[in-house]
């Protein structure tokens, strides 16, 4: 089991995400005395009687002014079992691009709903985006469960009301995630109160109808792929980042290909193919400054020494010959459009895939995803900010891409504005969109 878990939060405005994150930090003792003091002071200044844990995380002036989260923030906490990198993403519709950013590297996402509101449009929208991005594990935190049934005459009646609400929300969410393609074992619903800490660090006796783990217990124990690349492994994928040629008296002829293994593993003696040239050779050695490795797996930055002198440069991919992807110049892809100006057919952009950046022309826009119906409308004229759609792309230099659903690293790309340099789209090679449409895939 990996001891580092990358996770993200998602949910709509005022569901209490910042409070939940503040609570996670507080309950894992990741907040130190001076930070608590600062939050207590600021809470008193605002006239509050108890410390507002959301102030631990909403750090920008504009966020404190408006009481909302604007941008993705990264938080760090640890328990004896695991270290966590948490991308805390904003819930506002206009910041969906930040949800995409936060979730693109996440192995698990905590989706929040307000127990009093249940699964709403934004929940469905977020779940669809997370399905598209191939987030492996999902937690639905049904927050503010303590506020359900507050008018009931007894504690027992209140718990009964909360149990009913939780069961209804869980059932609706399970149906949604099953439709979007998650197996049941990858999804967990938990009733929580971020404000009071119910079912966050420890199981709460105020939710006797819930028998599962607390949120932190689940985060500590949920199994995830060490290489963060989705469910399906492929053979070696090694995008060449940089050619190391010291030309020093000590290393006059050294020529190493440096990069981070995107998928699979590699060992000395392995036969490999260089893409797009198709030249085959053998791995002679895996070099690191700490010595040679007998094997290196996905996620590790290494330097490969090859048996033959072949022409390889940044942007090429070294792959296992058995399942190497065919380099392509035209392909279909799903994009989350992140640009302020809409995408139109014929747009000339830059495409970054792995370590290769090349010119690209967008061909037809074939579908635009409707999050309401979880289905696609054909032949849109444009894709606007936050739209998800299917496009065809032609590139100037061939790229060695896998289908995104096979591997998140080798199936993803950026579209970049060649003039201003801004990132305009998150791109997913292949039929990713089909997978989140109702009924097209179980």
């Amino acid at each position: 089991m990996s001891d580092l878990l990358r996770l993200a939060t998602a949910g709509s405005v005022d569901d209490g995400k910042s409070t939940l994150v503040g609570r996670l930090l507080y309950d894992t003792k990741s907040v130190l005395a001076d930070q608590i003091d600062a939050v207590t002071r600021a809470s008193v200044d605002k006239g509050l009687s108890t410390p507002d844990l959301s102030l631990l995380v909403d750090g920008l002036r504009a966020e404190r002014e408006q009481g909302i989260t604007i941008d993705v923030a990264y938080r760090y906490f640890a328990t004896p079992q695991r270290s966590f990198v948490l991308a805390d993403t904003p819930g506002h519709v206009q910041y969906t691009r930040n949800t995409v950013s936060g979730a693109s590297t996440a192995q698990l996402v905590i989706l929040l709903v307000d127990a009093r509101k249940g699964v709403i449009e934004q929940t469905r929208r977020h779940a669809a985006v997370l399905a598209l991005l191939g987030v492996p594990k999902l937690v639905l935190a049904v927050n503010k469960i303590d506020l359900v049934g507050v008018d009931e005459p007894s504690e027992q009646a209140q718990q009964a009301a909360a149990a009913k609400v939780f069961a209804e929300i869980s059932a609706e969410f399970s149906h949604l995630t099953r439709t979007l393609g998650w197996p049941d074992e990858d999804v967990l619903e938990i009733p929580v109160s971020a404000l009071n800490g119910d079912n966050i660090a420890t199981r709460s006796d105020r939710t006797p109808y819930y028998s599962g783990p607390s949120l932190i217990e689940h985060l500590e124990s949920v199994p995830v792929d060490a290489d963060n690349s989705g469910e399906h492994a492929v053979g070696l994928r090694f995008p060449v980042q940089y050619v190391i040629r010291p030309r020093t008296p000590e290393y006059p002829d050294y020529r190493g290909y440096a990069g981070q293994i995107a998928a699979g593993s590699v060992a000395p003696g392995d036969e490999v193919v260089v893409l797009p040239s198709g030249i085959r050779t053998t791995v002679e050695r895996i070099d690191t400054p700490d010595g040679e490795l007998a094997v290196a797996q996905a996620g590790r930055s290494v330097t490969l020494i090859l048996a033959d002198e072949v022409d390889i440069s940044r942007g090429d991919t070294i792959a296992s010959p058995g399942d190497a992807p065919e380099p392509v110049e035209t392909f279909d892809a799903t994009v989350c459009w992140l640009g302020d100006k809409p995408l139109r057919p014929g747009a000339r952009l830059l495409l970054k895939h792995g370590t290769r950046t090349t010119q690209a022309i967008v061909g037809a826009l074939t579908e635009r995803f409707d999050e309401q119906r979880l289905a696609a409308d054909p032949d849109p004229e444009t894709l606007s900010l936050n739209d998800i759609g299917r496009i065809s792309v032609r590139v100037a230099e061939p790229i060695a891409a896998d289908d995104y659903r096979t591997n998140r690293h080798t199936g993803s790309f950026l579209l970049i504005d060649p003039a201003g340099g801004n990132t305009l789209a998150a791109g997913l090679v292949g039929d990713a969109l089909t997978a989140v449409e109702v009924g097209t895939e179980a």
Partner: protein, 316 residues
């Protein structure tokens, strides 16, 4: 299906042996090395900001590893406030000598001497670093500037991207940051703009110390407990220097102290400590109830948004 066959193949042979040693520190190291190599592959003139502190020392250690056995393809840039502790400058020069590096120094003293900057009434030099830093970036046409900032340091830093675009004024606009997706970093920038790059973004203070201990990284001596003359001010133990010393009512006394961060001598304090080696420091950091900045950095106590405001001005 071949996928299943391949998985079985990979995970049932002795190859899985390598997986267990790929722990948090190894993952963070690989991520940082990947970032260094991306910048080397895509930028013309990168530079590493080096203060002699533990974070920039770890940053340099990772950079050297990223290009080994080739020489480091970047120079270092030190913004010298003139208020550095002498041990830190000695360490800076020692490191440059040891690895045969190139060092640029942007000196606040020079700017004060010729009137381009004016000393602040409170004598604090940290805010004065911005102008020499930006001038050095412009004059040397640096297009990528590595910094050792970590997102766990402060709330506004928690919002920082790994690749952070800055305009010609060095400004950071938190509302207009580029989305950062997967591990695909977008380094495109217009002439005059530059990109700040933070390979240690995902590290915590404890990760840094665990890594220093594991890799046996050599640090400036002030990080380890030693006897020095200090005086107490605002709850911090300060060292006398060119920036001044004990005032009325403050007593100079020799105590066993160490520094948790390296900063301007006028505003950065030491803590009382007997931790003289990495192991003792690790225990001390793990048990500490104060953040490094809350404990010893006067400049972060100015306001709720002190660091955000400095970043908007072009400071790190």
């Amino acid at each position: 299906m071949w996928v299943t066959r391949l998985m079985t193949d990979v995970f049932t042979t002795e190859r899985s042996v390598g997986l267990s040693d790929f722990d948090t520190l190894a993952a963070l190291e690989s991520e940082a090395i990947h970032i260094f190599r991306e910048v080397a592959g895509e930028f013309e003139r990168p530079v590493i900001l080096f203060s002699g502190g533990k974070d920039s020392t770890v940053l340099l250690h990772l950079a050297l590893k990223a290009f080994w056995p080739a020489p480091l393809p970047f120079a270092l840039l030190h913004v010298d406030t003139g208020h550095n502790l002498p041990e830190v400058l000695e360490f800076r020069d020692h490191v440059v000598e040891k690895y045969g590096l190139r060092l640029h120094v942007a000196s606040v003293e020079d700017y004060l001497a010729d009137g381009r900057l004016t000393e602040r009434p409170d004598g604090i030099r940290n805010p004065l670093q911005t102008v020499p830093l930006l001038d050095a970036i412009t004059e040397n046409r640096f297009d990528a500037v590595f910094g050792g900032a970590r997102r766990d340091e402060e709330r506004s830093r928690a919002k920082e991207r790994i690749f952070s675009l800055r305009n010609a004024f060095g400004q950071w606009d938190p509302k207009r940051q580029r989305p950062e997706l997967w591990n695909l970093y977008n380094g495109r920038h217009a002439p005059g703009e530059h990109v700040r790059v933070f390979p240690l973004s995902n590290w915590t203070e404890l990760d840094i110390w665990r890594y220093i201990a594991r890799e046996n990284v050599e640090l400036a001596t002030i990080y380890y407990a030693h006897q020095r003359p200090v005086y107490q001010r605002d709850g911090m133990w300060m060292t006398p220097g060119s920036w001044g010393g004990a005032r009325d009512g403050e007593v100079l006394e020799t105590r066993s102290v160490r520094y948790r961060t390296v900063g301007d001598g006028s505003t950065t304090g030491a803590i009382l400590s007997d931790a003289a080696d990495n192991e003792a420091i690790l225990a001390e950091v793990a048990a500490s109830r104060l953040t490094e900045r809350g404990a010893t950095r006067g400049d972060d106590r100015v306001s709720e948004a002190a660091m955000e405001d400095r970043k908007r001005e072009g400071y790190f």
